[in-house]
């Protein structure tokens, strides 16, 4: 075990993979010598050479196109998109190519070895273009896996699992926690399962569901609620696609209530998918409507960020609303 922050955990996972797998490559804008603008790939070029860890030209559609080609060829590309807000120029390569590569070819070819890492999320005074949480844009795309860790331990274990998983994975890293989240992380190799949610705290009155950086906020709200005598079960979804319906549904069957919180805007976010599925799975068990506590249906603002975000007070209010329904 060692103390690591989330960035160090990511860096450590990449190091393990680069060491064990000659065909693993890390690349993206400023990823090479400099180690990325957040320094997630720090030291890797020095250790594994410029051929395997390098800067790319500034073109996201090219980064992912290049990565798709490498993956199809049998290499293990780990591509970085500098900010999730800048992943959209690569949307076609991800949604029409990565996700459909295996299916359209009848498994003659696949890009299962592809992993896309990208920092997402707000709370850093980043405004419209350094704060987005675009996971839902990808969640409508069969063929992709989508993974979001919430702390250093998960970051390492889930990233290792994502890289080794034989499907293209979009791995969203909560950048607000890059340095803020510090914890004990095993130095050795380990993996956490994809597609499995994590029950962080058991409770009886309401299920609170979130992923990534939002869990910190949810925990705070749960603490506040527990002071009122409300017992919250907290679930970290961890994998957005394909998601762990069973764990969530079992919990809701027990608690009778569900609140989903996400950083992204409410409308057509992934919380909506969860609500839609759970109202069906748990119809007879639900004692109140499923609450979604999300970002406003606006672009991500700067000076009104506090007002915009799904903070612990809004979640706390929604918990009470649900309980008192």
């Amino acid at each position: 075990m060692a103390q690591m922050n989330l960035l160090q955990a990511i860096n450590n996972a990449l190091d393990i993979v680069m060491a064990e797998n000659d065909s693993a490559l890390c690349f993206g804008e400023d990823v090479g010598h400099f180690g990325g603008v957040f320094r997630a790939t720090s030291g890797l070029q020095e250790k594994y050479g410029k051929a395997r860890c390098f800067n790319t030209p500034l073109v996201e559609q090219g980064i992912i196109g290049f990565a798709n080609g490498l993956a199809a060829q049998g290499s293990t590309p780990i591509a970085e998109i500098q900010f999730a807000d800048y992943i959209f120029p690569a949307f076609d390569q991800i949604v029409n190519e990565s996700a459909k590569f295996r299916y359209r070819s009848g498994n003659e070819f696949n890009v299962g070895k592809l992993t896309i890492r990208t920092p997402y999320g707000g709370g850093i005074a980043g405004g419209l273009y350094h704060s987005q949480s675009p996971e839902a844009y990808f969640a409508h795309t069969p063929g992709l896996k989508i993974v979001v860790p919430r702390n250093p331990y998960q970051a390492k274990g889930l990233l290792l699992a994502s890289i080794r998983d034989d499907n293209p994975v979009v791995f969203f890293e909560p950048k607000r926690l890059y340095r803020a989240s510090v914890g004990e992380v095993p130095v050795e190799d380990y993996q956490l399962p994809l597609g499995k949610a994590d029950i962080m705290q058991t409770g009886t009155d309401i299920t609170l569901l979130a992923w990534g950086a939002q869990l910190e906020i949810v925990e705070k709200a749960a603490d506040k609620a527990s002071a009122d005598g409300i017992s919250c079960e907290i679930i970290d979804l961890r994998t957005i696609l394909p998601w762990d319906v069973d764990t969530v549904a079992n919990s809701v069957r027990k608690t009778g209530r569900l609140l989903v919180s996400q950083e992204a805007p409410l409308t057509a976010g992934f919380a909506s998918e969860i609500a839609a599925t759970i109202q069906q799975e748990c119809f007879l068990h639900l004692e109140s409507p499923i609450e979604r506590v999300c970002g406003f249906d606006t672009p991500y603002p700067l000076s009104l960020e506090k007002e915009y975000v799904a903070d612990h007070l809004k979640i706390y209010e929604a918990i009470k609303r649900s309980i008192n329904y």
Binding site: T56, V59, G62, G65, L70, P242
Partner: protein, 403 residues
């Protein structure tokens, strides 16, 4: 070979080294001369002084037969589409030399990443008539499991990447594929075909620049056939074709007569050696003309004249090669007649077989989305099976086979 010596690296410290001027001096589309490589004349003789590609009678015959097969297949399948036997088809009439000649200039271990009008390369590689047909009839023997529209072939065994409809996406992919080949020390390059229309996509810019910067051994092969559906190339770009862009990427570039099979072969062979030796990309721009319709859904009379098309019939690449083969005494008219007769029969027979083969089983709906069928898809499939059993007449292709 002019232009193929180990070049000096482009100096990027231009600020201090350029020629200095004190009055505004512009460059433009005319600032570079782009010669065009021609080896074979229409009459089947070779230009004097022309440097021939590596080719002997065996190889020439293989190339020629692939061309003939391609021509016949296109002819028959366009007809089959008109008869409603197949839903869609895309012919490459008049530009078959680009794909067949490109493949012939490569080795079998080289990866071919095509756009969609390069069935010639797959034919040359030896994809069977049955496989072609099974794909077009999307039956259960299709390697692609009947999921894509006709002509979206692919074969892992033959290193021919499955075709994808979105244009240009294969261009940066080819750069990545070739980079992987290089990294793993393979004696192999990647060829990436695309049309002059697709070259307008952002992915083109991305792919060429990435290949240049990261020195990927990829041959970017542009089929400039003058049209992108109804859009003529002068509404696609106003520079000097696609070749002139090579200057900007710092990529070695050659323009060739795309209907001259020997020029295609020569350029591809030269490009391959260069790409492999230097671990760098090359651009080939093959000038040709799309003599047929864009696809069976298209009717070119809406946007161009018969006269324009007429002019191009003269440049038929297959006839030109035939003339050369005859002149070489590697071929004669009896062989010609026999070949075409046999091919027509074979293709017709293959259609009849393929159209009777079952569609893929219902399980194929959910496989290959992921490496394994995840729980939610298994559930969707199970529910579907129950549903189909309830309404078998509504799902005639699969109902009979559900257990």
């Amino acid at each position: 070979m002019q232009g193929l010596q180990q070049e000096k690296a482009m100096n990027t410290e231009i600020y201090k080294e350029s020629q200095v001027v004190h009055t505004p001096t512009f460059i433009d589309g005319h600032s570079v001369e782009i010669p065009i490589l021609k080896i074979l004349k229409e009459d089947g003789t070779v230009y004097s002084g022309a440097e021939l590609p590596e080719i002997d009678q065996v190889k020439a015959t293989k190339v020629y037969k692939a061309l003939a097969f391609h021509r016949v297949l296109d002819e028959r399948m366009v007809a089959a589409q008109r008869q409603g036997r197949v839903s869609f088809y895309m012919a490459a009439l008049g530009e078959e030399a680009a794909s067949v000649g490109g493949a012939a200039g490569l080795e079998d271990q080289d990866m071919i990443m095509a756009q969609y009008r390069e069935q010639g390369a797959l034919i040359y590689r030896g994809f069977s008539l049955e496989n072609l047909m099974n794909q077009m009839f999307s039956n259960e023997k299709d390697l692609g499991k009947g999921r894509q529209m006709p002509i979206h072939y692919g074969s892992s065994e033959l290193n021919y990447m499955t075709i994808s409809s979105p244009l240009g996406t294969q261009i940066p992919q080819a750069a990545g594929y070739a980079y992987g080949q290089k990294l793993q020390g393979k004696d192999a390059v990647t060829i990436c075909y695309f049309g002059e229309g697709a070259a307008s996509e952002g992915d083109f810019h991305a792919g060429l620049n990435m290949a240049a910067v990261h020195r990927a051994p990829v041959i970017f092969f542009c089929r400039n056939n003058g049209y992108a559906i109804s859009t003529p190339s002068d509404e696609q770009y106003v520079g000097n074709g696609i070749a002139s862009r090579g200057v900007g990427y710092g990529i070695k570039t050659i323009r060739i007569d795309g209907n001259d099979i020997l020029a295609v072969l020569k350029a591809t062979q030269t490009a391959r050696s260069y790409a492999l030796a230097e671990q760098k990309p090359v651009i080939i721009e093959a000038m040709s003309y799309r003599l047929g319709a864009h696809s069976t859904s298209d009717d070119p009379s809406g946007y161009r004249t018969k006269e324009e098309e007429e002019k191009w019939h003269m440049h038929d690449p297959i006839l030109r090669m035939k003339n050369w083969m005859l002149a070489q005494k590697w071929w004669d008219e009896t062989q010609e007649t026999e070949l075409y007769e046999k091919l027509r029969e074979q293709v017709l027979a293959a259609v009849k077989v393929a159209e009777k083969i079952d569609k893929p089983p219902v399980e194929d709906l959910v496989t290959d989305v992921y490496d394994q069928v995840p729980a939610h898809l298994q559930k969707q499939l199970d529910e579907l099976k129950v549903h189909i059993k309830k309404y078998p007449e509504a799902y005639p292709f699969t109902a009979g086979r559900i257990k």
